[in-house]
Symmetry: C2
Subunit: 199 residues, 2 copies
């Protein structure tokens, strides 16, 4: 039994508990908070969800989520001028790069990485769409995660785009800004030393 | 900038970030999960919230939250037979005791504890309602948290109920000092209720 407040409350707890970062206990606390702040939180959240269900869609060009398709980034003509296409695994990565203010670039969201063990092959990702789209750009930046699957996916894209002659780059490896050397793994340190830059 | 997906998505993130246990980063992850699982998660959650906004109310007898008032616990005649009224600070505590299976008791939710520093006096809590209701029961169990404020509240209730001659008990020690009921395991809670002592 999740709560003692009837099936409506139980169902709300069960659904909230499926969100990342929330378990059954925190979902119960969240629901009590919602009930306590009905006017300031529960009703606005309910309305915001209704609007999002109605409005949010996936951009047919790049795989981003927005309230329109093509999305605001794909529709912005200034973004096309730099000729840079940044390939990311997930919308969360796109948001992270935008928060970092990386500049006027376009994106392509793969929707995951190649992972044969999990049954994720090229057909499960927006890879054909990327290959079809890439020739419009001068440079393709592979901003995939520095994991085995991410690097496998980067190799696959490099192979497929090789014949086209487009410039392909990847994010630099190195010491995170504000990071301490003592806490970094050897791989990162080794890469950072290899890619040292003149002051 | 919270996301790159338009005002509808930003607003959803901001509202979710106000839930306990979620910050801006986990709210962004939650929203992306909702968008990814639109059919299985976002639409059901939206509908569940709509139903909860409509249905959930505070029980006029005990202060519990339920879809009806009097709530299911107050309406259950078997709960009255034991003549035990368990006084809790919060609905979360009531749920925790119910999960522990403490038996056929009734509850009274104070809605907080006395805390003069925070400006919470007897009028801010459902204390008059408790005093008025208590004579219907043979025993009042003070299941308030083992904090200074909780114990202050217990003393206040004992003083007010003293002249009525009702048996007043409190949860047994076993509740860690400074701990909160909602975080305790069911076994400890159940033992603590069984070993309640007269004040």
């Amino acid at each position: 039994m999740a709560s003692s407040g009837g099936p409506e409350i139980d169902q709300l707890i069960q659904l909230l508990a499926r969100l990342p970062g929330l378990g059954p206990r925190s979902a119960r606390r969240a629901v009590l908070q919602l009930i306590k702040k009905k006017e300031q939180l529960m009703i606005p959240l309910s309305a915001a969800l209704d609007r999002a269900v109605e409005a949010v869609r996936t951009c047919e060009v790049c795989g981003n989520v927005d309230t329109r398709s093509p999305c605001a980034i794909c529709s912005d003509p200034r973004r096309g001028e730099t000729g840079i296409l940044v390939v990311v695994e997930d919308v969360a990565d796109l948001w992270a790069l935008e928060r970092a203010g990386v500049g006027a670039v376009r994106y392509h969201v793969l929707g995951g990485v190649l992972s044969p063990l999990d049954g994720i092959g090229p057909e499960e990702l927006l890879l054909d769409e990327l290959i079809a789209r890439a020739p419009e750009f001068q440079e393709v930046v592979l901003a995939v995660n520095a994991t085995v699957e991410g690097q496998t996916t980067a190799h696959y894209i490099t192979d497929r785009l090789g014949p086209s002659g487009i410039k392909i780059t990847r994010l630099a490896h190195g010491v995170p800004v504000g990071g301490e050397l003592d806490y970094l793994d050897e791989g990162t340190l080794s890469q950072a030393l290899k890619a040292r830059t003149a002051l």
